[in-house]
Point group: C2
Chain length 347, copies 2
Amino acid sequence: MTEGPTITTIAQRAGVSIASVSRVLNGLPAREDTVRRVLRAADELGYVPNSVARSLRNRRTDQIAFAMADIGNPVYVAMVREIQPVLKEAGYRLLIHSTDGDAGDELGVLRGLRERYVDGLIISPLRGVTREHVEAIVAARAPVVVIGALPEDMPRDALVDNVRTDSRAGVRLALDHLYAIGRRRIGFLNGPLDTVPGAARAAAYREGLEALGLPYDEDLVEVGDFYRDSGARAARALLARAPGVDALMCANDLIALGALDVLREQGRDVPGDVAVVGMDDTDLASVTWPTLTSVSLGSAERGRAAAGLLLDRLQNDRREPRAVVVPPSLTIRGSTTLPGTPPGGAR
Amino acid sequence: MTEGPTITTIAQRAGVSIASVSRVLNGLPAREDTVRRVLRAADELGYVPNSVARSLRNRRTDQIAFAMADIGNPVYVAMVREIQPVLKEAGYRLLIHSTDGDAGDELGVLRGLRERYVDGLIISPLRGVTREHVEAIVAARAPVVVIGALPEDMPRDALVDNVRTDSRAGVRLALDHLYAIGRRRIGFLNGPLDTVPGAARAAAYREGLEALGLPYDEDLVEVGDFYRDSGARAARALLARAPGVDALMCANDLIALGALDVLREQGRDVPGDVAVVGMDDTDLASVTWPTLTSVSLGSAERGRAAAGLLLDRLQNDRREPRAVVVPPSLTIRGSTTLPGTPPGGAR
DNA sequence: ACTCCGGCCGTAAACGTTTACAAGATCCCC
DNA sequence: GGGGATCTTGTAAACGTTTACGGCCGGAGT
């Protein structure tokens, strides 16, 4: 924990100026003799450049932040897993912020960008991008990539890149699949309608039924939270009200877990009596019993795309904002297929 | 993304020197009139201090890094969940590194400390602290807290704080519990013996049986990896060799998941025919069916303790190194208790 | 021998802060 | 009104880099 050598120390020992030291260490042209002496001195002293001083001078920190709602959520973990290597490859360090879905915290991170402690930010705001978010982004002095929907009236000069998924199409995939395996009374366990995903999935459920020629029945819909226990509560309520359901579409894998708990507890066979589909296709989906058919919203791809966009933007400051849409896909597992039955229909 | 105001800009606008600006912004005494003008100018300009420049001058970054093997591992997630708020409270930002259990990567982080991009580090090396780790830690210019075992010959001057758990005691807890519910042929599915936890758990299993007066039988032990599929393979092998086992002690929750898969597949009732205990008490333990009795190694506590030690050390550079040991505990769930039967024994 | 050119190198400034020091302003008291 | 004490302020240096600029030197061309 002693004070380490600086280029000045090296310069003295090698008998050259600090400018020469810097040049040698950065591989700029120098006489062969100078190079040798500087490198030797640096080596003997165990020199390591001070990244803070370098950042100040270069006006870049080689750090990038990723702000997400919850570090325990497998969706974000999948994103980090993809983002990390891409950034590392490009020479950036990744800072991870867990905002606990607190909009205040999110804004804090966004505002913190102005401190310049980071060259760019990837953020995935849980409840969508508010006007305050937009203001903070415009005021920020670093490029931002948003994972999730942007508001319609996003100012052109914000230069925000965007990655999203099509969760409506995802819901459709699931409904089509359930229809294909013969289900006709398909219940829906949703998350809060004031979240972006919640609202989108609600609409998609309605549209999807219509497209399939099935009636929309309010008794088949229950709204709760995106957690397991809340999913269980919702499932219990729905099953009590509409005992005849033969499938449950869940807005989230966690909700689906809760539903599975309740179905097991009530002795209903999955998928024999009731088929269940989750959403997000997290690691959990393959852990449950039966394993859970789930709509993948491409978390990994979204993460990768976001990292790519950010790096690209860091190269080219003035590029037009870009938006990437990752299509959903359906991973069929035990909760919708009887053993031995080949998975029917969709995809 | 425009170049922002600096204290110089503010000084001009307020008609004072930059020293006064700095003083006012840091709450040092100044004439009331000066304070007002500076604050007004700063506000109008939307000034935000440059954290890099401040770090250079103050020789501190207010950032702390946490290096772990795998961001997807619930054990580390639990640690982060505890570390984050503690550090935040103390005014530090948390940088998260996922080293993928790669010793090279771990060393990279450790060596990176010398760049001074961070004021301190919490690291949890998967395969223990090697001589190279020690060297890097001694050479580092920032305090380090290691979560996990330290080598015996740790140099005194390294000033490394340490947090560990007692996984031997943890194994004993599990064995005692299994014994208490009447199991006498207790199998053991372990992870690699060249990892620190693997070796410790192997020894503890032996000792634990001895303490209970049960014979050690090689046929009841299988070594694999700390993953689910590996756990399944190991369980299959063990069950084939020793069909009479009535309990499986697993070195890890993931291994236990694999074992549950196999038992279900073979139609053996859990816990009726075979009781199962996992280790780490991750979130997964409450997701499975049946839910999994698991030894908690206090990930959360360890994280909290590590953060505490680091903060403390940052206050007091010269303090003697300290070691915290977090005792294990047992969380009893469905995989060792028949419904209706009160959990017996241990604890 | 003079000029010109190119290659290396050192001096110094800059990045945006904080802070030691000394000078100027203000006040109080005699 | 002079003198000291106290408060406030500005100047400048420092943190550790990178880099523009100009100087020096040696060699080549005339």
